[in-house]
C-alpha cells in the first residue's frame, strides 16, 4: 500500500493547459476520485501518474519517491481502462498472468495467484475462456484481476464503469468497493459520474478546465459545495444571484433567509429542488406560480416562477400542484448554499 502525492502537476500542449497546477494527496489504502466533466483534465492527470504523459511541470511522489522519471513499465501500478483493454488473443488466465510473467514469477505460482485473484473478482473457473466469450461486466472483472494480481502500489481506474449498462454499473460499483476494501489497495478513480464518486470515494477531487476546484469527503462536497461549478455538477438545480447579503442571512425576492456566509459580496446561492418547502406563512415565504410540471412517480418536479428571482425555481415535492396554481415556498432551514461564482449562470 502506498501513498500518492501530486505537487503542482501541469501538462501544457502549446498554449493549452490540459492540467494546471494539480496538487492533492491520496492516503495509503484510501480511495480517491477525480471528478469532472470531459476535458477537465482528470484523465490527463491519471495518465501522468501512470507515465503515459510527461508532466510539463510539477512532481509525482509515491511513498515519498519521486517517480516522474521512472519508466511507466517500472512503476508497479495497476491500471483499469474504460474499454477493459483485455488482450483478445489470450485466455482469461493468460491475461491475468501477463504482469506476473513480466516479473519472472514461477508458472505454478502464477497459476495459484491468478486463480486467487479471479476468485476475488467473482470469476472462479473462467480461466480458459476468451474475453469475447464474457459479458462486459465479466470482462471488467478480469481487467481488475489482471491489474490487482501484480499487487500494484496504486490502482488507477479510468472510467471503468462507463461502458456498462445502468443495472450492471450499480452492481459493479458495489463489487469495486468490496474488492478495494478486501485488498486495501490505494486507488485513484477517474469519473464524470457524481454518483459513482460519492458512493465509492473516501475523498473526491473535483476538477474543471484543468484545475482542481475543490477537494473533500463525499459528504462535505455533497452537503456544502463551495462553488457554483461544483454545485451545478452535483446536480443542484437552482443557482442564482440573490438580492444581497445581510449578517447571518441572504435576501432572496425581498425576503430574508438564514444563511451562514463570510460577508463577501458577489456570491451566488444554490438551492436543491428537494430543499424547498411548500406552504406555510405567506409573509415569511416567497410567492410563486407553477409554470410546468414533470411527472416522476412518487416525487414530481415543478418549474415555478417567483417574482424577484431572475430564473424560475425547480421544486421537487410529493404534493400535487396543478399548473397555474399559486403557492408559497421557502428554503428549508440551513439549506441555502453560498457559492463562489466560478461559472456563468445561464439566463432564464
Amino acid at each position: 500500500m502506498a501513498e500518492v502525492k501530486l505537487t503542482g502537476l501541469s501538462k501544457h500542449y502549446g498554449d493549452f493547459a490540459a492540467a494546471s497546477n494539480v496538487s492533492f494527496d491520496v492516503e495509503s489504502g484510501s480511495f480517491l476520485s477525480l471528478l469532472g466533466p470531459s476535458g477537465c483534465g482528470k484523465t490527463t492527470t491519471l495518465r501522468m501518474i501512470i507515465g503515459f504523459e510527461q508532466p510539463t511541470a510539477g512532481d509525482i511522489f509515491i511513498d515519498g519517491e519521486r517517480i516522474n522519471d521512472i519508466k511507466p513499465w517500472l512503476r508497479d501500478l495497476g491500471v483499469v481502462f474504460q474499454n477493459y483493454a483485455l488482450f483478445p488473443y489470450m485466455t482469461v488466465a493468460e491475461n491475468v498472468a501477463f504482469g506476473l510473467k513480466q516479473r519472472g514469477v514461477e508458472p505454478a505460482e502464477i497459476k495459484r495467484r491468478a486463480s486467487k485473484f479471479l476468485e476475488l473478482v467473482g470469476l472462479p473457473g473462467k480461466e480458459d475462456r476468451f474475453p469475447r466469450q464474457l459479458s462486459g461486466g465479466q470482462q471488467q472483472r478480469v481487467a481488475l484481476a489482471r491489474a490487482l494480481v501484480i499487487e500494484p502500489r496504486v490502482l488507477l481506474l479510468d472510467e471503468p464503469l462507463s461502458n456498462l449498462d445502468a443495472k450492471l454499473r450499480a452492481e459493479m460499483r458495489f463489487e469495486l468497493k468490496r474488492i478495494q476494501n478486501e485488498t486495501g489497495v490505494t486507488s485513484v478513480f477517474v469519473t464524470h459520474d457524481q454518483e459513482e464518486a460519492l458512493t465509492l470515494s473516501d475523498r473526491i477531487v473535483v476538477m474543471n478546465h484543468g484545475e482542481v476546484v475543490t477537494v473533500g469527503k463525499p459528504k462535505e462536497i455533497w452537503e456544502r459545495p463551495t462553488s457554483a461549478f461544483v454545485a451545478d455538477f452535483l446536480g443542484v438545480e437552482n443557482i442564482f444571484a440573490p438580492d444581497g447579503f445581510e449578517p447571518g442571512a441572504v435576501v432572496i425576492g425581498g425576503k430574508r433567509f438564514a444563511a451562514e456566509h463570510d460577508g463577501q459580496g458577489n456570491r451566488l446561492v444554490g438551492l436543491r429542488s428537494t430543499d424547498i418547502e411548500i406552504g406555510g406563512d405567506a409573509d415569511a415565504g416567497l410567492a410563486g406560480r407553477v409554470q410546468q410540471t414533470s411527472y416522476r412517480g412518487s416525487i414530481n418536479t415543478y418549474v415555478v416562477d417567483v417574482p424577484g428571482i431572475a430564473r424560475p425555481l425547480y421544486i421537487s415535492t410529493a404534493t400535487d400542484l396543478p399548473i397555474g396554481s399559486n403557492i408559497v415556498l421557502k428554503p428549508r432551514d440551513g439549506a441555502v448554499l453560498i457559492l463562489d461564482p466560478d461559472m456563468e449562470i445561464a439566463a432564464a
Partner: protein, 283 residues
Amino acid sequence: MSTGVKRETLIIGAPASLWLVVLLVIPCLFLLFQSLTPLSGTGLSLENYENLVESGTFQKALRRSIIVSVWVTVLTVLAGYPIALVASRASPRVRTLVMVIVIFPFLLSAVVRAYGWTVILGENGVVNDFLIGIGLIAEPLRLIQNTFAIIIGETHVLLPYMVLSLLTVIQRIDRNLEAAAMSLGASPPVIFFKVVVPLTLPGLLTGMLLVFSLSMTAFATPFLLGGPRSPILTVLMYQYAYTLFDWSKATAVAGVLLVLGLGFVILHRFVSRRLMRDAEAGR
C-alpha cells in the same frame, strides 16, 4: 460461389468476364495444353515436365526463385514493421512524407528502378566507390548481375505491399492494449512482440503471401538486375522461349509458374478468410 447472384450482377459483370475469358483464361488453357503436348508425336503426356524437372538448370532456377522470395519476404517484414509503425503513429505531416517515399517506386517503370540500382551497386557505383574510398576493399565488389541484386531490387519494389498490409492492421490496434501491457511491466520491445505482432498477424500473413507470390512471379526486375547467368524461374522461361527457342520447356516452366501462382491465390484467400473470421469473433 454464392448462390443468390442477381441478374443485374451478371449483366454488369459480363463484359469484364468476357474480356478476361478471351484474353486470359483461353491463352492460359492453350499454354497448358501446349505444355502437355510432347515434341515427339501427338496426344497428351507429362514428358515436357519430366524433362524439365530432370534438368539441373531448372532445379537451380527454382531453388534461386525460392531463396530470393524467402529473402525478399523476410527483408520486407523487417523493413515494413518500423515503416508502418512510424507511418501510423507519426504526425500527419510525417506520415504523408513516409507514405510518399514508400509508394514512390510504384510510380517508376521497372527499367528506371533497375537503372537506379545499377548506379548504386554497379562496379563504379556509389557503394563500391565508398568502400574503396574508405580503404575497406581494393577491387570493386560484384554487387550486380547476381542473386544479391535481385533480392535488393525486389525488396525495393515489393516493400509497399508489405507496408500497406501492415498499416491497415496497425491502425486498428486499440492503443489501450499497449498501455495496459506497459502498466503491467512490459517494456516497448516486449509490447511489440507480445501485443503488436499478435494483433497484426492477419496483415503480416497477407503481406507475406502477397510479397512471396509476387516475388516468385516477378520478371522485369530479376531480368534487369540478375543477369543471364543466374536466372530465376521467370527469367529461365524467357531464355527458353526467346534465346533457345525451346518452346516445350518454356511452356512447361510457364505451367509450373501458373500452378504456383494459382496455389498462392487459393492459399491467400483461405488464410485471409480464416483470419477475417477469427478477427470478427475476437471483437
